[in-house]
Amino acid sequence: MDFENAKAQMRKGVLEFCILSILSRSDAYATDILNKLKESKLIVVEGTLYPLLSRQKNAGLLSYRWEESSQGPPRKYYVLTDKGREALKELESSWRELIDAVDSILRK
């Protein structure tokens, strides 16, 4: 059986959760988010982040503002909206439920 698709789907879901979580601490531009995701080895190639950001933005979970940068191009800072905060809360609780559920099965 091919688990690649299942793994990819799982990672995608977790990634969306983590993006919201990173933004709940402070506004961040794509490279900030990327660095954090890379540190924790959640992301391999950077490009996969952008479709997720676009989807979350279009779902009203994120908005953004522009900031000039002293070097390089202007930065697009992503901001968590109220709707995004609610989504994050929901995801957090379902994440914990899921972990407990999976753990309880694995331990048996």
Binding site: A30, E46, G47, Y50, P51, R55, P74
Partner: protein, 198 residues
């Protein structure tokens, strides 16, 4: 010596080598091809161009002012394959057509038996000249072909300039295409020159 282009990525101007430019263009086109929704596509392409701009600006400095093919390859290995970026299984639903110039009918003076009518018609219709010629000869046998040929010879203008020759093939007229055209022509001349020497 290499020819360079200047490109605007995230509102920054970069000088980029010819080969690097081609690679970058092809890469961006492939990513774009995966996203059919216009709003989504614009968001993603904007963000990606911003990030590419940042990656390039990290690589440039006082001693290095031009983005090279190596920079583009490095950028691609960081950003990832277009299919992985899209997270989609299937091939892109639409590919961007680069040959977008309108086609016009001309007589082709470079590939002619008599007046270049058949080769011009072939280029316009996108079919092989030989087939057009055979069809014409068949017409000729049945009588009307000769007249039609003469009329077309008079009516259809000859492609004299490079721009007209590109239009004849349906290539859009821009600096890069004209450059390519001359490159091809030069190769042809070289080949025929070698052929004659033998």
């Amino acid at each position: 010596m290499k020819k360079t282009f200047s490109v605007n990525l995230g509102n920054q101007v970069y000088y980029i080598d010819d080969d690097a430019y081609q690679r970058l263009q092809e890469y961006l086109d492939r990513i774009e091809g995966y996203f059919s929704d216009q709003k989504e596509r614009e968001d993603i392409m904007n963000d990606i161009e911003l990030r590419i701009s940042e990656l390039f600006s990290e690589r440039l400095g006082i001693g290095k002012q031009v983005v090279t093919l190596k920079d583009v390859e490095e950028m691609i290995s960081i950003m990832g394959d277009p299919r992985v970026i899209s997270g989609k299984e299937e091939e892109p639903r639409f590919t961007r057509e680069r040959r977008t110039g309108p086609r016009r009918i001309y007589r082709d003076p470079d590939d002619r038996m008599i007046g270049g009518v058949c080769s011009g018609l072939g280029a316009y219709l996108g079919i092989d000249t030989v087939i057009v010629r055979i069809l014409f000869i068949l017409f000729l046998i049945f009588g009307i072909g000769f007249l039609v040929y003469i009329i077309l010879w008079i009516v259809v203008p000859e492609a004299k300039t490079t721009a007209q020759k590109l239009e004849m093939r349906g290539d859009s007229v821009n600096v890069s295409n004209i450059g390519n055209f001359f490159k091809e022509e030069f190769e042809n001349v070289k080949k025929s020159f070698r052929g004659k020497k033998k």
